[in-house]
Amino acid sequence: MTTVALKPATMAQALGRALRDAMAEDPAVHVLGEDVGTLGGVFRITDGLAAEFGEDRCTDTPLAEAGILGTAVGMAMYGLRPVVEMQFDAFGYPALEQLFSHVAKMRNRTRGALPLPITVRVPYGGGIGGVEHHSDSSEAYYMATPGLHVVTPATVADAYGLLRASIASDDPVVFLEPKRLYWSKESWNPDGPQPVEPLGRAVVRRTGRSATLVTYGPSVPVCLEAAEAARAEGWDLEVVDLRSLVPFDDETVCASVRRTGRAVVVHESTGFGGPGGEIAARVTERCFHHLEAPVLRVAGFDIPYPPPMLERHHLPGVDRILDAVARLQWEAER
């Protein structure tokens, strides 16, 4: 066995490294977006790419998101593999027509002749004290659009692994980066990081017997914390990190829920119409007779994202998760 040198790294660094390695390996990979060049992006994810690969490979575009994604479509049609950065979640909305009407549909439209291997990187979610429009969670929009993969990392290693796999995918991937985890540090092996293959596999982050927390992205650390706190109440919680919302890993999720008999879906996006409805519904369809209680959801409220001074009330936290776990009808416990 080789010894692996683990070093502390942030998710931002791992993402940057994934872009760099992908560009070094495949000259078809091009990065484009607002301020991704000289500045290295407002989150500095693309720092150094323009210097290393030149402005033609890492390009500051004019300020127009539909234009960015639309030109990326054309570049992909010619055989390139564009990686597009949307500066913030809500600033990707001008590109939704291109995303829904072309990016998601081109392969299907052309009977497979024109696949679009485009990765759209979208920093998403709140918890960073951002003013209005800087903290949206828009994953429900992408999930409801067949033809897109929707992927989101929760750890430094996955940030690298999933981004590499997304860029390598021949399908378009909306790659959601939980912006409040950008600066979270973990031990990481920067010398031999690997893509996560295939996309579409959830992972059990913590095993437990009492109930399953199904979650992804920014809510994964919160759920792990909740699981720790739950021990004091006598609950042994399992935490499943979905990693990929599309395709959805029914197998891993259902295996867990069948084992525990109870589940809470946790995410930051609004509850109504958010990803949790789909997740709860499909888990229930598949595991009905294993369920001791309905699958519950802990999500952001059904409101526009709040201003910084109030956002802590909106975000699903440990207490709210534990409250939901408490409502899982333990009195019925045999």
């Binding site: 004019p62 030109t71 054309g74 049609m77 291109q98």
Partner: protein, 383 residues
Amino acid sequence: MTVMEQRDAHRPVPPPAWQPRTDPAPLLPDALPHRVLGTGAAAGADPALLRRLYAELVRGRRYNAQATALTKQGRLAVYPSSTGQEACEVAAALVLEERDWLFPSYRDTLAAVARGLDPVQALTLLRGDWHTGYDPREHRVAPLSTPLATQLPHAVGLAHAARLKGDDVVALALVGDGGTSEGDFHEALNFAAVWRAPVVFLVQNNGFAISVPLARQTAAPSLAHKAVGYGMPGRLVDGNDAAAVHEVLAEAVAHARAGGGPTLVEAVTYRMDAHTNADDDRRYRESSEVEAWRAHDPILLLERELTARGLLDEDGMRAVREEAEEMAADLRERMNQDPELDPGELFAHVYAEPTPQLLEQRAQLRAELDAEADHHAPEGTAR
């Protein structure tokens, strides 16, 4: 500092030192559309080209008529005819080299056909058997774009990519007058100019966006005047003058190929048919207006020029018409056959590999179809 040094010399300087980035004068279009036919200017034009254009115009007119007829027979879901606009459609197709790319809108099946596409394949979207009937890479014809102006950034991106790869490829994108109002038109032209992408934008100003006339679409002196706002040349051309459209487009394509960047061409033309077979144009325009344009018909203009110069006679015309009839007969016959369709294909191209969920759904549909078949099977037929 490498990256910063690479940047353009145009740094912000205060007004005393301020300089316009480019000279606007050469970017502005002429006040009147450029014309060639009937002006004497066609004398320089290659007779072979003029004859080729003529044959394609006639064929195109016939194609439009045939496709419209197919809608009446229920063989096409819908057809947006380009009758009256054949000069633009044909010139756009003929001006390109094989390696170049064409980006058509929903109205431009004729341009695709004039480029060499099988008419049946070109009509797949409108027939309704699939969304695209050809391999865009094989023909270098992008899928017909239904959402207006959305194809323009695609053309820019493709042209830019080709340039980055060092390939000598030009993209020509078609859009209507109405489409120029969309944000995507603006963003595409701006990207093209900033990147100096080898792309040519051809606006077919046919006077209407469905029922909405140009006066409700823009207050600009012309659509070609939009070019200066992006720093690219704007050209105005008589869209019914096939020689003029070809000439202006050829210049723009050459300019793009030579690294000069994009051009915006506005072709002034007229949609002689209703918007589509489903539209009733009597609700929004007088037939006298349509009639007025007949005198300026693209076929007529070219026929007159060719006959006057002795490049075309009755026999020539008949030969062209006969060839067009053959194409139409072939099209009619092949479109009257029901296409073979596999419902299972619905799940095949959503992703490179169908997801487990799609495989389940495909199985579900298969089971349903089997049950249906059982149900409808003649009595006594065992399965």
